[in-house]
Symmetry: C2
Subunit: 196 residues, 2 copies
């Protein structure tokens, strides 16, 4: 009988999840509790319990909000090097300059012990990888790729290296790195003898 679109429900959910994300980012998943969100937002603890009886549900919803970013329409007008630089530049900025860079590791950790979270992060990454695939497909249409270019491997590599450097190795992502990285991928993708 509950009306799912009651503005009071929507507002509470939105306010609570925003706060949950902020706490997630700054203090980690452990600090995301009904009590901490109540303190931060003024939303009553009992209201939060009514919305999310289990704290895991609340955390999972926060993960979902963090992992449902605007869909990107990758540039595919070519050449490959420029398209990749544009797309991976967005990824670099997301990791360096948005909450995603701090929230992603929390989700990855949750994925190790929670299948729902694992599906969430896996699907997110596969979507991200599909953007790169679009760029390669377009390059192939334009005849820029070598016949035997290992496209799936290059997609892995394109995304894996920035995530690894940022989340795991603590290495910087800057424009110098970006250019070298795209250079490397293009060297493997493009027809021999067309090196710039």
């Amino acid at each position: 009988m509950t009306k799912a679109d009651d503005p009071r429900l929507l507002a509470t959910r939105s306010i609570a999840l925003d706060a949950a994300l902020e706490i997630l980012r700054t203090e980690g998943v452990l600090a995301v509790t009904h009590a901490s969100i109540s303190t931060k937002t003024g939303v009553s603890r009992s209201t939060l319990y009514r919305h999310w009886p289990q704290i895991d549900q609340l955390r999972t919803d926060a993960f979902k909000r963090a992992a449902s970013p605007p869909v990107i329409a990758p540039k595919t007008n070519g050449p490959l090097h420029a398209d990749l630089t544009w797309l991976l530049g967005i990824l670099m900025s997301a990791l360096n300059d948005t909450p995603w860079g701090q929230i992603a590791p929390q989700i990855i950790s949750g994925a190790a012990t929670n299948n729902e979270t694992k599906s969430l992060i896996n699907e997110f990454m596969h979507e991200r990888m599909s953007y790169v695939r679009e760029v390669f497909d377009a390059a192939e249409q334009r005849g820029e790729l070598a016949i035997d270019a290992p496209i799936e491997q290059l997609i892995d590599t394109a995304i894996a290296v920035p995530y690894f450097r940022h989340l795991i190795a603590g290495l910087p992502l800057d424009h110098e790195w970006l250019e070298s990285h795209v250079d490397m991928i293009c060297r493997l993708a493009e027809k021999p003898g067309e090196a710039s």
Copy 2:
């Protein structure tokens, strides 16, 4: 005045941290508490509090234990392809078949909000990367590498892809993948015209 090498102290620490690692692996960092370790080991809760007044210290110590694996002496007798297959095969097995594959994401998550943990995982990864570097250095000594081989980038890539696939994308690490991955790296490293 406490004797740091009292066998009772050492035994308690060891037993407790082993249990902490097991809980960390199976239930996640949230489940690692004085109480859960006491239940699992029979070590009294008060004793655990005496050793680690703060739960974060206990978790950090568990992280340290997990991240201090036996030092590897990489094979460097060549050729590059064989050495890399051997070394990355060990990494693959570690991720697939040992607790490290489940514990690593917990540490990565902790690194986002704890500088000590961040240093820990960064140093661990840099050590791992240095093994790869040894392999490349030996290949260079043997004259197998192209003059302009981007060694540091190749080290990143060699490690980043398996970690990304396993921890973040949920993609398999198998022997087929390993061979393709090493092929790709060797293509970028070796002198042109020496492709197998």
